[in-house]
Symmetry: C2
Subunit: 340 residues, 2 copies
């Protein structure tokens, strides 16, 4: 039997994950049983939520056990099959985790049509990150024509889609990103109305200047200093879909934010809405999402950028970089070639 590789959680990180919190293991790929199929990973998606899975703090999902394979979405090829529903050579999307090979009984595999779009998009703009942007923005944020939508990590998988969908809906899109290259890309390539560099010492003032009519929708995926700058700019009746808090994922101690003492008062007097969500809460919207988003991608209204790290063994380094914004576009790991 052949050997596979996998990345397991070696220890729970305290603060920033370190290389030693991960361990790369080889394993013997088991033989196929009745009804099973063998999958070979082509793409692995790395996403900020994985930091939560490394921790045993209470959350909406169980943590990865120490010694367990890191979780994640993958695009795979079926390379052997005892299952009549899957043929060798078919491409599927699945949640196999950080590994090169896996056995599946066929449950929770979703076939990917490689003729419609590059298969990597099924875990990117047409997958979980794209749907997170679509549902959070449209079902909670509900941007109206002429309103102002602000989103951070604007060159990333979720943020880039949020701003572009906001534009499609007739709103102004103001991005926030780290560094000139990302900001230029967000403005010039993605067509946001503005993009502010959060590393700029005058960040808060520049964000305010970019939002002369205040902020109607803030798609929250970072927290920290960005939220502190956004909060006083929120308009009456503003909506804040709370999707992620990447600035805090490595916090070892929770600190009250600057606005903590006045947050409830502002919610009351400005009639704000804060609502947390996970993409799976909107599973019923998957058909709408796939229809709209694939149309927009085909029409060139939604662009996306992929940031590829080669080799499963480099996944830990890529993930540690992702938490610091080292990626520029959707972070993917190329685990194997398109065709074996």
């Amino acid at each position: 039997m052949s050997q596979g590789k996998r990345v397991v959680l070696a220890s729970r990180p305290v603060g920033e994950p370190k290389a030693s919190d991960f361990r790369i293991e080889e394993f013997a790929v088991p033989t196929l049983g009745q009804g099973e199929l063998l999958l070979r990973t082509i793409w692995l998606s790395l996403d900020p939520y994985m930091r939560g899975r490394m921790s045993d703090a209470a959350s909406y999902a169980a943590p990865v056990p120490v010694g367990g394979v890191m979780e994640g979405e993958t695009v795979c090829e079926v390379i052997a099959s005892n299952n009549p529903e899957f043929a060798t050579g078919e491409i599927v999307r699945s949640r196999l985790g950080w590994l090169t090979h896996a056995i599946s009984n066929g449950e929770r595999l979703i076939k990917v049509d490689s003729k419609l779009a590059p298969i990597s998009t099924s875990i990117g703009v047409l997958g979980m990150p794209g749907m997170t942007a679509y549902t959070g923005l449209l079902d909670i944020g509900k941007p109206q024509p002429g309103e102002t939508v602000v989103v951070a990590a604007a060159s990333g998988a979720v943020g880039s889609a949020v701003g572009q969908i906001a534009k499609i809906k007739g709103a102004h899109a103001i991005g926030i990103a780290g560094g000139k290259d990302k900001c230029d890309y967000v403005r010039n390539e993605l067509g946001f109305d503005a993009c502010i560099d959060h590393r700029d010492p005058d960040f808060a003032a520049k964000l305010k200047a970019a939002c002369p009519k205040g902020i109607d929708v803030y798609f929250e995926n970072v927290g920290g200093a960005v939220f502190e700058a956004v909060f006083p700019l929120l308009n009456p009746f503003a909506r804040v879909p709370v999707c992620g808090l990447i600035a805090h994922y490595n916090d070892t101690e929770a600190k009250p934010p600057k606005w903590a003492a006045s947050m409830m008062r502002a919610i009351l007097t400005k009639r704000l809405t804060f609502r947390g969500f996970i993409v799976s809460d909107f599973a019923a919207r998957h058909g709408d999402f796939l229809h709209d988003m694939s149309t927009w991608v085909r029409e060139g209204k939604i662009k996306y950028k992929e940031f590829v790290t080669e080799g499963l063994e480099n996944a830990p380094t890529a993930f540690m970089g992702l938490l610091k914004g080292a990626n520029f576009g959707k972070q993917l790991v190329r685990v194997g070639p398109d065709k074996a």
Copy 2:
């Protein structure tokens, strides 16, 4: 011309309002002009939001100017009229403020049918407080059968309606009130499933015990220690209509609440919804409210209690008491007799 009495804001309170922040003035009631009518106040409603109007901190409504008449809803009788739309003897609801007489041109007066219900209910259970409860609970809280709804100030105008409507909708209603008499009333007369005394040293533990399946809807009208006890009990997908924060209205300094550092994380991981509202945001629901609520009152499904202070000159004392929970039921001021 006859003399009227009015209560004006003498100075902006720092912390708790004091008697010297109010001033009682006499004034000459002006003569009627073309199209005008003269109103005599029968009932004045006192409500917690008035503390906000005494302050010049930014809010959803302009403050009462120093020297200006305190704002408030009133039930009045037309005692003279040069306006063909209003006849002498008719009863109207209006926002005249804390005074005995006023001239009106007829705008924003709403006629009250004294045969349908006691006229005081038009500023109570069938008026603004009732509609605040109805819209906040049903349009934001959206209680489902079997869910748990918690509300504080449960013997008051808003809280009592919130819990009784929750029961009508098949939810469990857990009230919070100050002292044994109020708690007994909420449980025994209003039919809440439980009512916890917030003055009890074991308040937080008793609230937890009364909510064995957690809290699905918390109708926030107080803040402070009640919210601190409620927060960890919120279930995934809980909704928090933010209606008022009476525990903080006299704060001279905003302090971050105990849960401040983890609030955003909880919103995210539990997918909570916090949404502030003002009753006027739901003006389009007035017809539904009036239909449902008057039916429920007639059928005995919604009970209400009035707490009457006699005489306009006692309104400041009654209002200062209201902020400390000295009232037991909807706080009204009897300004004049039903029939002059």
